[in-house]
């Protein structure tokens, strides 16, 4: 039996009241609930406050570069399809610096899960606008209000027919843990965009701001219906839906890579006969 305690308890360097605390708890709960032991899980992160999440739990961990969690996660998963690979980082890391990798991951559909802590602001560098900052929000770096339109990761993922697209809220831990479990179970790329307040730098999208707007998608929403999914993905403002927004069974990338049938790369040995044939093919 795997329990949350297997994932450990650590002192964090996050601000009191930060949404990261709740997300960390939801991740541990989800993994324990899935019966995954810490050594079966790999958390790959980029840079930022959210990217510190795996530091506060027991599991395999690859903490890399700003924006690069998805390529690293993709490489690790392809090298060992037996690992449960989760990329976890913030909105700046996942959609800004890593924007091209996000688009490629949607197309590629490798069996990994992206947990994007979305607080609509850069926290670690003290409050600049992020790709999901709402247009017009003022920060020290955008004193006249953020001029650009906010990026909508959920709508982009749904438009790209990503297999699993969900939005969670750090204020609803149980619900979030359920979404994470479904995302991990999904065979292909899964996005969980997680709304969270940044108590230090985002004075607009506060806990109560979210609390007033967020509502759970009910059974009337059919995530396999593309038009419905796109419509719910666009809803952000007075009302913000959380839950599984879009879902389909697009075959994962791995299905098209015959080399993976031979098992994890680390456990293979050199095929000298094949090598000999290859060298001879150059005669």
């Amino acid at each position: 039996m795997v329990g949350m305690e297997d994932y450990g308890q650590f002192e964090t360097a996050w601000c009191p009241g930060c949404g990261n605390h709740a997300i960390l708890k939801a991740v541990k709960k989800a993994l324990a609930g899935l019966g995954l032991a810490p050594h079966e899980v790999l958390l790959v992160t980029g840079i930022g406050q959210a990217a510190k999440a795996p530091l506060y739990m027991n599991c395999n961990m690859f903490t890399g570069l700003h924006g690069r969690s998805l390529p690293a996660a993709t490489g690790a998963r392809l090298a060992n399809p037996g690992l449960t690979v989760i990329a976890e980082s913030g909105d700046g890391c996942s959609y800004g610096e890593g924007g091209n990798h996000f688009l490629a991951a949607l197309r590629r559909n490798v069996n990994i899960t992206l947990l994007a802590h979305d607080n609509q602001v850069y926290g670690l560098t003290k409050g600049q606008a992020s790709p999901t900052t709402m247009q017009g929000m003022k920060t020290k770096a955008q004193p006249f209000g953020q001029p650009s339109l906010a990026f909508n990761p959920v709508a982009v993922a749904a438009a790209m027919r990503a297999g699993f697209v969900a939005r969670g809220f750090s204020g609803e831990i149980e619900h979030l843990a359920g979404l994470i479990q479904e995302a991990v179970r999904h065979p292909g790329f899964a996005l969980v965009d997680i709304l969270q307040p940044c108590v230090s730098f985002n004075k607009l999208n506060t806990f109560s701001w979210y609390k007033e707007r967020v509502y759970r998608l009910g059974p009337e929403h059919d995530p396999t219906d593309f038009a419905q999914a796109m419509s719910k993905a666009q809803e952000f403002g007075e009302r913000i839906p959380i839950g599984v927004i879009a879902r389909n069974d697009r075959p994962p990338f791995e299905a098209g890579v015959p080399g993976l049938a031979r098992g994890p790369l680390a456990a293979r040995s050199l095929d000298r006969d094949a090598l000999r044939r290859i060298v001879e093919s150059y005669a």
Partner: protein, 565 residues
Amino acid sequence: MNGPDINIVIGGEAGQGLVTVGDTLSRALTRAGYEIVVTQDYMSRIRGGHNTFAIRTGPDPVSAPTVDIDILVALDQESVDLHAGQLTARGLIVAGDDLRLPDAPCLRVPYRRLAPKPLYDNVAALGVLGSAVCNDLSILERLVSEAFEKKGPEVVEANLSVLRAAYAWVREQEHPFACMPPAPADAGPRIMLNGNEAIALGALAGGCDFLSFYPMTPGTSVALALIDKGRETGLVAEQAEDEIAAVNMALGAAYAGARAIVSTSGGGFALMCEGVSLAGMLELPVVIVVAQRPGPATGLPTRSEQADLNLVLYAGHGEFPRAVFAPGGVEDCFYLTHRAFELAERYQSPAFVLTDQFLADSYRSVAPFDLDALPEPPEHLLRPEEGRAYKRYRITEDGVSPRAIPGFSEALVVSDSDEHTEDGKLTEDLSVRTAMQDKRLRKGYGLIEEAVPPDYYGPDRPDLLLVCWGSTLGAALETLRRLEGRRTRAAVLHFRQVWPLNGRQFLPFLEEAARVVMVEGNSTGQLAALIRQETGFLIDNLILRYDGLPFTAAFILAGLGSLDA
């Protein structure tokens, strides 16, 4: 000059099939037992432009390209106009009857009479050329059959009849070109491949099972050869969205136990630099092939240069050990790439293969690689003895920590790009920082001890020592042969590994030579500067080439002449 070797240059527009003709003739010569050095000069376009495929071949080893042309196969007028002046005294032009030719020996090929359709002109040209140099018809027939096998027996037969007609037609013509001297009978089996293909095979022999890349000339063909040949070994390959993704994907794969390679060229490598730094910090093995071409920026995309040594040497912020190999020829491409995999794995560090466009595209005929002589790839530690107490970055005497692979045991493999403790977690304890940095740097001492020493060719205490690295070797060796019998006693010192440099391995050679001349393909003398930095030895005679073309003996001899003047 009239040696036993001849230089055949096929010139034409991109898309005319000159590579097909050149490639097939090169393979025929290889199968007949001749040595070859192929130089491809092409423009950065898909069709049109002026391209050449030059085959220097002979019964004795040939090592470098040459400017003189013995047979010029002109597929268009521009090839005649540009290259007729390079013909040797025995030179011959082979051209269709529609081209204006100068007053020189020539074979006017009646393509329309020999081949039913222009589609067959390549095979006709092959027959004409093979016949002119007296290549065995049966070897050519076999190659043509192999090439068209998949298209069915009728297509094979149609091509064979064009080949035979062209071959026979030459026999009836009077032309001054004598047959090549016979190839040595005891040549043994030979294979033909270019530098990038040899790098791909060296990688597979080194256990490479993961490739991620973003296409960039001239690095792409390493990836293409790996994708093609790696099917048989189960290689996992992905064309990444950009070079940043390519290197990070390779590192993620390496972390999970893959033997990963990325191949690129200067501009793409510039994008990878942060990832290289990550490899240094996470202590992950990765082999990075950088096929050099002239810069800065986009430079001359399809030409050659050796100007990215400094980039590769200093790529990545912070300080960490690395190894940089610089193959001199096709065999070196194979063995040094294998070596790069071995060292990357043992030292958990990035290792580089620094090649260039000339070598990347240069076909050679070589003995099949000796696979039995290669050491087995180092084994992975799948289940560390410490179990749950495993520490990824345990501080050790030689700096190398036992590297477990995640997912195979209860041990957790924890890696952080921040400075970290022995168990891999972020720390801002500054004494740990110092200890970790020292640990990483200690791996560098092992790399210095294991550095591949430069090769020395020629007499002790020479009057002239030519120092070079990478693909310049061939031209330097030919220069040496051309200087034989003159009063100057010359030697060559060739660096096959350009970092780390172990002065004890080569300083005596530099000190004992009366005069030392550095020959390198860049405009500032990067290796000369590095040698001075590492050993204090000043090489102030430099022969530098940076017009995009590979070195030739003639270029080096001219350079020596101006140094004397």
